[in-house]
């Protein structure tokens, strides 16, 4: 038995060196590099780069299942995007697939349609089965948020080429989707979503809703370069509501706190106008 001791320790040493130390997972540096590069690429919506990175991670020593899961998602969405106009048909044929998969397809296709232009987006929307147009929030946060964003972008683009009356329902739907991302989406998508929601709501003359979004942007994104613009737009919303005192305060903040910003001249003009209107 004693003679076996060094061999036992040797084997234990080998196992220990290749598997775990004190319960902590050990992976090759190549795996970490590839996996985290993939995550960053995903975050930045560079899906080709993400797919490549996750493939590298799978071929390296590490937690292959985790990388494979991401890779599968990315590849699937990339495939869907490449399908182009055929995707609507495919969507019909996979109506039994889990909703997350369908939504991935929809999101990516909408994204592509978005880049192809409003007419194509409208074509796609017409082809989508009605049940797929519902986007429940039972998906992983980022995926759902991206689905909503793509959808909202497409709707917003489509509405741009329509007459105001026709566009109203689309704008309203897009604004509601942006609003959902703004409230529930991941932090990195919130600012853009809130901003777009506010813009669309202002367009729809829902000044109260737009105002809530602008006030939210000011309090939650204090260091965004658009901060002065947000104060200006807050002022405009108050102005439309004929709340002249609050409007003036917002315009004064935009001019007084950011006098070197590009919007200072505009704020300057609005202050005079507001004072005149409000009889101040």
């Amino acid at each position: 038995m004693n003679r076996m001791l060094p061999i036992v320790i040797l084997i234990a040493g080998i196992i220990q060196s290749t598997d775990r130390v004190c319960g902590e997972s050990l992976h090759s540096p190549k795996y970490y590099e590839a996996y985290y590069s993939g995550l960053i690429a995903m975050h930045e919506r560079r899906l080709e780069d993400a797919a490549e990175a996750f493939t590298k991670a799978i071929s390296s020593e590490g937690e292959k299942e985790r990388a494979a899961a991401w890779s599968q998602n990315v590849v699937r969405t990339l495939d869907a995007a490449k399908e182009g106009t055929q995707i609507a048909r495919r969507l019909s044929s996979i109506s039994q697939a889990p909703s997350a998969v369908k939504l991935y397809f929809i999101s990516k296709y909408l994204n592509q349609a978005h880049t192809l232009g409003p007419a194509k987006a409208r074509e796609v929307m017409d082809h989508l089965p009605s049940d797929m147009k519902q986007h429940p929030w039972n998906l992983p946060g980022k995926v759902a948020a991206m689905v909503h964003l793509y959808h909202a972008d497409a709707l917003s683009d489509m509405s741009a080429s329509m007459k105001p009356d026709e566009a109203r329902s689309l704008i309203s739907e897009a604004a509601s989707l942006y609003g959902q991302v703004a409230r529930q989406g991941p932090v990195n998508l919130r600012e853009a979503a809130t901003k777009n929601a506010a813009i669309l709501q202002y367009k729809m003359r829902d000044y109260a809703a737009a105002l809530v979004h602008y006030l939210d942007l000011i309090s939650t994104h204090p260091y965004t370069p658009d901060r002065q613009l947000f104060h200006l737009n807050t002022g405009k919303c108050y102005l439309m509501q004929k709340n002249y005192a609050a409007a003036e305060e917002a315009f004064v903040t935009a001019a007084r706190d950011f006098p070197a910003g590009k919007g200072a001249v505009k704020a300057d003009t609005y202050i005079r106008y507001t004072r005149k209107k409000g009889g101040l």
Partner: protein, 438 residues
């Protein structure tokens, strides 16, 4: 491995007693195990923990930052943050890297995150102020600097010489640096407010100026290191200039340049002194600009001095000198922020000189320079419309009617409704040109 096994057999054969056998076996077991790591490790892939990997990323990020490779460093630090959200040190470094890469908004956000995790971080508050200052968010920057100074003062109150190794004056210097930055911010803020055309904020301007003066005065009483003392002197001079006390400002600028010629703000002070004479005495300004360019040859502000010199020559109708100065600026500082204007002014100055002297060679030179200008930025520079019109004028002056017609026509085709197109049409219809055959 072979060595270990030999060692093991050797041990078994020569040590007979039970206890000594056990000890020697244990010894050889450790030797074997440790050698197995050495011998086997190279055969398989290197395996490490996430913590070790983040440590490596941080090390590489620091190395990249020290070589000013900001993009590479930022990429590595993003990975660190994804792997460990609570790592304040990497967040701080990331913010610094973003600041250096001039991504001020992202850097400010990062410093804000640091402050959320470590609300007493002087460095984060101070650098947040710097980011906001660069973004020209004067109100927010002032607040950040104030917070930084307060944090340092609080630290001073809690400072214990027996526990903290830092000398007390280091704490004072940090507070002074934050105060000095706040004073600069207040001065810039009041200046920007003063430039607003319609709505004025006299109360705010007055308050910011007096607050800046109060800070600078209290700092000037303190024993400060030269770097900080120089900054205080420079901002005090700026403050005097803002209040219209040009004499005092010039004296203070001169004092700074003479007493601390190596200070980073000495070239700026020397330039500011020269510039203060621009309107009052252009000749004196010219001589001061020349002195500045002789003394601070390597400074980046030399480009601005050359531009100012060109402007003064232009005002004095010394157009050829102006053109030469602008040409020097273009050759020496092709990347300067205002280089497009400078390039345009070369041709324009030659054209003005030609018009004044009626010299054909100068017209030719003007045409050449203006056409050269129209080809920059892939043939689409700003001021292209006026540049084509003036090129047409220059060609006309030098007698090259076809080239003139071509320049005018090009301008009209490109911007048919512009002011310059209208002027070009007037030239084309002025009778100078023969009408093309029907």
């Amino acid at each position: 491995m072979i060595y270990c096994l030999c060692d093991f057999h050797y041990t078994v054969r020569h040590h007979r007693s039970a206890s000594s056998r056990f000890i020697s076996q244990l010894r050889s077991s450790f030797v074997t195990a440790s050698l197995s790591f050495i011998l086997i490790a190279p055969l398989g892939a290197e395996l490490i923990s996430l913590e070790e990997m983040t440590g490596r990323w941080k090390g590489r990020a620091k190395a990249a930052a020290s070589k000013r490779k900001w993009t590479e460093a930022a990429e590595l630090l993003r990975k660190v943050e994804l792997a460990n959200e609570k790592d304040v040190e990497s967040k701080h470094l990331h913010a610094f890297v973003l600041y250096q890469a001039k991504q001020y908004s992202a850097a400010a956000q990062k410093y804000h995150e640091v402050l959320l995790q470590d609300k007493n971080s002087f460095a984060a508050a101070y650098h947040l102020g710097r980011c906001l200052y660069e973004m020209k968010f004067h109100a927010l920057a002032t607040t950040a600097f104030e917070r930084a100074a307060t944090l340092k003062l609080k630290e001073k109150e809690l400072w214990n010489p027996h526990v903290d190794g830092k000398p007390l004056n280091a704490v004072d210097e940090a507070t002074a640096a934050a105060d000095c930055a706040r004073a600069r911010c207040l001065l810039d803020w009041s200046e920007a407010l003063g430039k607003l055309r319609r709505v004025k904020f006299p109360e705010e301007v007055k308050r910011h100026r007096s607050e800046a003066d109060r800070i600078l005065e209290s700092l000037s009483m303190k024993q400060l290191p030269d770097s900080l003392g120089g900054r205080v002197a420079y901002y005090a001079a700026l403050s005097a200039q803002q209040k219209g006390k040009q004499g005092d400002a010039r004296k203070q600028f001169r004092l700074l340049v003479d007493s601390m010629p190596e200070h980073p703000l000495a070239p700026t002070a020397s330039f500011a002194e020269a510039r203060s004479w621009n309107e009052e005495d252009p000749l004196k300004a010219l001589s001061l600009y020349r002195a500045f360019m002789g003394r601070f040859k390597e400074s980046a502000i030399v480009a601005d001095a050359l531009i100012q010199t060109g402007v003064i020559y232009g005002r004095r109708k010394e157009f050829e000198n102006a053109a030469k100065t602008y040409t020097e600026c273009l050759e020496r500082f092709p990347e300067h922020a205002r280089i497009v204007q400078v390039h345009y002014q070369i041709g324009l100055s030659y054209l003005s000189a030609a018009k004044e002297k009626g010299n054909i060679k100068l017209y030719e030179m003007a045409a050449e320079k203006l056409i050269e200008f129209t080809k920059r930025d892939n043939g689409n520079p700003p001021f292209l419309g006026p540049a084509l019109y003036h090129a047409g004028e220059a060609f006309l002056g030098s007698g090259q009617k076809e080239s003139a017609r071509s320049a005018f026509t090009k301008g009209i085709q490109r911007w048919p409704d512009s002011h310059w197109a209208k002027k070009s049409k007037e030239k084309l219809n002025s009778g100078v040109f023969e009408k093309p055959d029907e």
